[in-house]
Symmetry: C2
Subunit: 415 residues, 2 copies
């Protein structure tokens, strides 16, 4: 941690430059839409500055505030939880169609809504997911360059470091974010270049092997995940449909692809808590049959889990499978961030719901029908969910039936 009592301004600036140049790969003339907590204003100001320096057309930030978010759950009429700001999401979708880039700053209290009525939370999330669907689809099919970075918000910092003074918790989380985002080094852009090359070696190996199934074994887990037909492994820098190379997640340690929505069988246990839109779901255990979750329980947040699984037809099937070694820097930090962006990079995971349509062979933008035919799942949700740990082995089974070790005790078997 820093020994000064405010967040290192030079690292904020480095993170902003990284977000614009590496995260977004922002191109001259592109408009940019940012969503951000008001608390992250120092970072938004720097990102805006560097976006304009890179030639951005217009930068628009939609700020959020936890007190305002809570106000609705505390004071609104019951009918409020069936509506969303449709006009705003629709507009965002149109902006993406006009090649606007998208940046999100994460930093809110991961348990902001944990004391609100779960039924209201679930209905509000559902209304939001429906309204946001057209815009979200443009992100999941990777039409445009997008990026998420993080800001050490106070409430979040207190969740991660509950037993120290506020200011110290914020500085600790700031350092953890800067380290995980590789901006604590002299040249973050070179560091990301090297990191992207390492991830590329992994995806090349997985794509060459072209596995039919992955098999996960370990305590509480015995799961066979069929991969989608024509699936392609991706990770780190990727090229969006608009031709721009970007790094959607900062940090990112994962390689990932699209599983087959109807070929997942067995049981699996979560290995880290899942922070879902302000609520915490922990110690999840589910049983899959023919790709569908047919049994589920959770030690904490089981009510929210049930509502999530009942969101729509595709919510009980998975749309992403990702491999992350236990030796990843985020895992080694020993911290639980209660934030998927970080925690998913500490462990192998799967995601309930919508698949990334980009994770298929060839450059063509597949139609919904083609994606579905290949086994890609469709849903209004996409929720990452950690199933890896140092006790989990993963094998790849190819089309000849050969069993090839992928992970042993949470680490790449072939390194």
């Amino acid at each position: 941690m820093s020994d000064k009592n405010q967040i290192d301004a030079s690292k904020i600036d480095k993170l902003a430059i990284l977000a614009v140049k590496v995260g977004l790969g922002l191109k001259k003339g592109q408009n940019l839409i940012i969503t951000a907590p008001i608390e992250s204003l120092p970072l938004v100001r720097k990102i805006t500055k560097h976006a304009y320096k890179e030639g951005a057309g217009i930068v628009t930030t939609l700020f959020s505030d936890p007190d305002i978010t809570l106000s609705r759950f505390k004071y609104a009429d019951d009918d409020s939880f069936n509506v969303a700001a449709d006009w705003l999401y629709k507009g965002m979708g149109e902006a993406f169609d006009n090649n606007s880039a998208r940046l999100a700053i994460a930093g809110d209290d991961p348990q902001l809504l944990s004391e609100m009525d779960p039924d209201k939370v679930s209905r509000a999330n559902k209304a939001n997911a429906i309204a946001y669907k057209p815009a979200r689809e443009r992100i999941t099919r990777f039409d445009i360059n997008w990026n998420i970075v993080s800001w050490p918000g106070k409430a979040w910092a207190k969740r991660v470091f509950p037993n120290i003074p506020d200011e110290e918790a914020i500085l600790n989380l700031a350092d953890a974010i800067f380290d995980a985002s590789r901006v604590s080094v002299d040249d973050p852009i070179k560091a990301w270049d090297d990191h992207n090359k390492t991830l590329r070696l992994r995806t090349d190996w997985l794509n060459k092997n072209n596995f039919q199934y992955l098999k996960y074994t370990g305590p509480g887990t015995n799961l066979k995940i069929g991969l989608a037909d024509q699936h392609e492994w991706m990770g780190g820098a990727s090229v969006a449909q608009n031709g721009i190379t970007c790094n959607p997640n900062i940090p990112s340690e994962e390689v990932f692809t699209t599983p087959h929505a109807y070929r997942v069988d067995g049981h699996v246990s979560s290995t880290k808590p899942l922070s879902y839109q302000g609520s915490l779901i922990d110690e999840i255990q589910v049983v899959f049959k023919d790709g569908k979750i047919i049994e589920s329980k959770a030690a904490k947040g089981s009510e929210i889990l049930e509502k999530v699984l009942n969101s729509d037809e595709g919510a009980r099937r998975i749309g992403e499978v990702a491999l992350v070694p236990n030796s990843s820097p985020i895992s080694q930090s020993g911290l639980i961030f209660f934030n998927t962006l970080f925690d998913e990079n500490a462990a192998s995971h799967i995601a309930l719901g919508q698949c990334y349509s980009k994770c298929f062979k060839g450059d063509a933008n597949l139609s919904k029908e083609e994606i579905s035919k290949n086994g890609g799942n469709s849903s209004m949700i996409h929720i990452d969910w950690m199933i890896g740990s140092k006790e989990i082995d993963v094998d790849g089974i190819n089309f000849n039936g050969d069993v090839i070790p992928v992970f042993r005790k949470g680490e790449w078997a072939n390194s």
Copy 2:
């Protein structure tokens, strides 16, 4: 001024309740779109709370930040100043079509952009005005209930009170805003009820007289303003097209109507500085012929004035005429707020550009063609501009040619 060192929380709450109940007259189930500087967060939080308590569907706030606004003018490519966030304005227009209410919080530095390149400022304003036009038209034709209130932002407070410490300036401006907005009294809602009744007496008298012309005389001013055919005087509480009674401006001391775009002749001098989108224009003198400004000058900001007048065809004609007595509380405060919302309520004024289509007889929503035929002006701008003072007399000339005193030395002649 207050002797505590922070803004009176109970008055913030009263202003929020007033904005929701009297300003907007918000109805159960209505969505609400707020625009606000981040600095006004304490007021936004209270407004959001009271909006939900009144049964709002969803409240969406679009926050702005002066540093982010300036970033564009400092760092963006030249091309940036030709674009606007079209998707956002288009979405707002759609939200208004779906009966969303609109609330704006004013509080920015009135001279924020004064040191930026006037050409860039003018082009950015024009691009914005074009993008915002569809949404703005829904406001000017009064489709939905809307309201503006103010927040004592630090930079604004320092403009109004330049020679005292920051904190004291903010508290002084807060008190001036609370006083002018009638929330310093025990029961602001009753105070507004009484005030609305007084304004109604004025509009009834003006409508009964049905003047053909108003004639303004005083130092630097000799101006004849023809009123639009079928014009109606309005002021204070009004009924929007969606049937909801609201008070668009808090504070408001004016009664106003639509002049005839082609029947304004003579010369007129501004009596207060005009703060236009971050720039100050002062000591304006113009000559009208057949409704059009054919000569213009300003001691300060003449370059901006010229660009404003050249915005479009309707920018050299007027769309509003408003009467405010010199004894109005805002005038009597002796302060210059450098903010139209306040300064227009200290003096009689006219507005360049778009007319309020609601200021015509009958409840029907007139078409653009009918408005134009009645003499209502059309433009993408609407800029209020103070021409009244204690030295100005106003006469009304009716269709019989009778000359009836309206104002003498800046006060209502008939009171």
